[in-house]
Symmetry: D2
Subunit: 354 residues, 4 copies
């Protein structure tokens, strides 16, 4: 079966298709035919060598929707033919994180989802929401659950709260949708007037053009009658974190979700302490959070925002598009349509299991 491998660190050109054997399926595992995979900046950072070093070749990608084509003999959770979403942190089912729960991640260090067939633990997948098409469903695992966790897992968002989201990448747009669905006000920041228009059309309460208002924290204070936002989702890091803190209400929260080039954040401690701000980070995502996200998507009939989809053979172009930063929403790679794909062929399944 075909898989897209990162063979060396580099740009999109460092990706190569290879032929791999059909994965084995242990007693508690599922064999999945991947229909669509969605990209995240983490994939790009790993590819260009900016996210630690992993054993190569590595199949990238952590987010996908797939069809169950075979189940291990101990599996009762899913049946052949069901449409599922693998969790990207397969050992983290529920509860708080710990070292062993977050160590293994799809798309590095584990082989990821940019492949025709993958096998995962039956515990490490959730049912795909029926109202979502394949392209949409493929995008939830990473950006969707990250946004959920920042808003509801650690953020304690309530109806009537105000959230700030930076830019219009995948996490920010999921956060916009989920926070609005949960009754919160959402202030979107962007350097593009056009993207702000689209964010407002998606339901954003306010948009701030940071090209015209680089000191946007003052505008957030103004829009919240001087109180500040209850929660700011910071995806930039660096010295700009000072603005996120200044825009947060006393006793509020900043979620540090990402960073630009150098990967540091510089805090003005006097300011952070003065405002009693809590700075939250998180790594990986539990299946419980994923199921909570799915319930919210189903309750609201929500649909993720897709920027563009690419055929599997054009996956390198999808990475290039991701790297350009131009996307509004998620970038998807289509691997197999429903009913498509060759049969998995002779499977080297382990003979017995527990």
């Amino acid at each position: 079966m075909k898989a897209l491998e990162m063979q060396v660190a580099g740009g999109p050109e460092a990706l190569r298709f290879s032929n791999r054997p059909t994965p084995s399926v242990a007693a508690d595992e599922l064999l999945l035919r991947v229909r669509c995979a969605a990209l995240n900046y983490r994939d790009w950072d790993i590819l260009r060598g900016a996210y630690g070093s992993f054993q190569l070749p590595l199949v990238l990608g952590s987010d996908a929707v797939a069809e169950v084509v075979q189940v291990g003999h101990g599996v009762t959770r899913f049946a052949v033919g069901e449409r599922v979403l693998p969790t990207d942190t397969p050992d983290w089912i529920t509860g708080p994180p710990d070292e062993t729960r977050i160590a293994r991640r799809l798309g590095g260090p584990l082989d990821g989802v940019l492949a025709e067939l993958i096998s995962v633990s039956a515990e490490a997948a959730v049912r795909a929401p029926a109202h979502l098409g394949d392209e949409e469903a493929s995008t939830l695992a990473g950006a969707g659950v990250t946004a959920w966790q920042a808003l509801y897992g650690s953020g304690g968002l309530e109806p009537g709260h105000t959230v700030v989201v930076q830019g219009t990448g995948g996490v920010s747009l999921f956060a916009l949708q989920l926070a609005r669905f949960g009754g919160a006000n959402v202030i979107v920041l962007s350097r593009s007037a056009q993207k702000l228009e689209r964010a407002l059309a998606l339901g954003a309460t306010f948009g701030v053009d940071t090209r015209r208002t680089p000191e946007w924290q003052h505008e957030v204070l103004r829009l919240t009658n001087g109180r500040g936002a209850d929660l700011v989702l910071d995806v930039l890091g660096g010295t700009a974190v000072a603005r996120s803190i200044a825009a947060t209400r006393v006793g509020g929260r900043v979620a540090l979700l990402g960073f630009l080039e150098d990967g540091t954040a510089v805090l003005d401690l006097k300011q952070a302490i003065r405002r009693s701000v809590t700075l939250a980070t998180s790594s990986g995502r539990s299946r419980d959070m994923f199921e909570a996200l799915v319930r919210a998507f189903e309750a609201g009939g929500l649909h993720p925002v897709i920027d563009r989809s690419f055929a599997f053979q054009d996956a390198a172009a999808a990475f290039a598009h991701l790297a350009s930063g131009a996307a509004f929403g998620k970038i998807v790679v289509r691997i197999a349509g429903p009913g498509e794909g060759t049969p998995p062929g002779p499977i080297d399944s382990r003979l017995a299991g527990s």
Copy 2:
């Protein structure tokens, strides 16, 4: 000024209008002209002597909207002319409850709001939402904040959760609106098919006719794929609490908010323990919760459900209507329209402050 007094325990006929002096206004207080007051079952229970004994005569009523007609010389929080909502538990501003914060309540033991003029601490009032008319705004303090507290204060409701509300009284309808606004599914129980229709029109996800399905807990389990509701708001007490517990998911929560005649609840402990259910109660409401409710109402442009309003002189009929249990939504007493009401007259303000 005119006030409606409970002079003995009894039915609506035990209420009498009296003439009282204009209340004094201490340095940290507001003098308010009440525009509308809303009734709660607590008022009825106090009137008929079923809620402990208070010093009589007593002015009933805890929920109102009013206009500031005078401010004590130390007040900066409000100005004359503003429209405010008194908090019903004036000493509880924020944080967890304690004995001293919840002891004093409007409408018993303190004189309440069924009067033309009242004075309250400036700290014990919040700004009325501008988008609500007087009848609507008067209903938030009691039933609204109780619903808020049960859902978001102790209940930790999230988008995608499922809540059960019993009947269509004030608290239940506020809970329906707020939970839907917060992205939750809401199952409404009622013995009236007609009221279920109205609840569904208000946005309820499901309605269960408990006259036809008295063992409604099974239906809740069915509607939640066997999982049970995340939160059940129980307003009945008695042996029926067993149904609320059986309808709650493992690890879920039942809010015990009210009771019918005898004021007890009988738990099957084996069942409650088996389902790891937490039973939450609460008394009184902090100003912080009230402000959170107001922010949610403003964020959503929500409007409370008014069953019917009565002129002040017909307040006894309003109590009779409350006692009938027939209302769908809140019952309001109109006391003075905007600009109405005689001037407060010479005020016997205390010379030295509070």
Copy 3:
């Protein structure tokens, strides 16, 4: 290998020894030689048929210390020779409970630990604290983790808080030790002056003889300067829960952990609501809680209180002693000393597994 079976519901005489084959060991399992098992009231309730019905014959017992005698080929968590404590709810590793995590329990519906050899998932065991002897270590899983969960899992106990514990059974004595180690004041209730003496010797801050002071809630209020206890661990249920609620501070917590004969609790809702009390229940225990308990026992060098131990052949007498209610602390059954026990013999292990 020898196991003690409940063959019909009844008294201690309904227990019979049987010879069972050595349990099979799947790839992710441990084969354990049980050294000591500790009894809980749940065992007694199951035996006499008062805790639901289970498939018989059933090996009772959920708490044990054991030695690893074989590991499945996929196990890395433990090695042969290590001393471990099985968790009594093997599918609940971490996080909140749900239906699937709490369904299976040792000692019913699963066969329990009153046997020479048992097999458990390697994930469903924790390392035994080195400073505890076998009799001591065997007692932690049930009563110890229940006390931990009530105090620190849901109870949020802090140094300087006050806890009330009822009687001197296993859970109450663990709670006494753990709450004192955590800096809380502990008020012990007992109908026996002699047991109160022993509780005070163990560190209880105050003892209340409920034979002489049946309305003990007033004494708790007196001892807390009228404030009430932060947390009451109720193991009686019934109408006496009203006393627990009356003894709890406004906004405090009652943990409903057990019950006498009829298994109900009758709440005065007016009182519960007036005091804003939360009533918490729980079923089963996660491995995370167990590990937290072990860390606390190690940090404090704590030792559980053992009432008495019995040889395996006298296990029926141990149940009779448990049923008498006379014990002060845990009752232990000694099954095999270190190095004792016949070798497990030919093992019918599954050939391969995951």
Copy 4:
């Protein structure tokens, strides 16, 4: 009455004694004769102009023990002759912080406690623990409550957890005592072998000499079997925060409590995100927290660590000693012994209260 004023920014020489009128006492206030005051780095930072600018002259100092010498006519909370501790953030009684609750602080912008007589709101004081002498009792408000808040307010410390404290200043020693009293393990870091000795004598579980082990995070990981500390109290800020994060367990917490010269903290976001660490800050302290601290001190019979006390006339020397960083524990200024002090004299009390 005599007060110590900061008249310009500068060193200890910028302090001057002045004669001020006896403070007025509003209806809800207490007039207090200060017995002892304790110093904090915040006082030193304000004096040297490194903590924002305040209106001068300013009486410094936020921590004191005092005797009630007069009560406003509306006060019932305290009586003349009682020994009390003013809260340093007088408007923050309970609940979460907000802008209005934390704006006013004793010792800047409000006049502080380095004076013979002060007046405070009766709500803004707590009863002094009877078992503490005046020097001891004076130290609780600032460093004590800060440590409490970091450990139990936001930190959720449990018995068996591990905490790291940096150095042996006031907050660190309070944290050491309180965490040990609450059953946690405490690792103390210091550049002085002698101070480590003293910390171990106070009960620290481990000491790490950071002069010999500058990369102390590895030692913390080693001492916690690779898991990391549950909570690190960081008082240094700067680039060293990276070590605090590396020493924290996955999902753990770093409390950012202070800073050296430049007042920034530089985070390695990749590392912080990888470890899912939460960074908590806080400003000011509520009366509820102070009362919780007092209950813990009383429950444990704890005594604060006093480094040295100075007579009022030597207060400048006390500041110089604070600035030297040599202290092990708190530095106290003795202002009046019990029964000492001239009578407050004719009081210019306001006629009508606030």
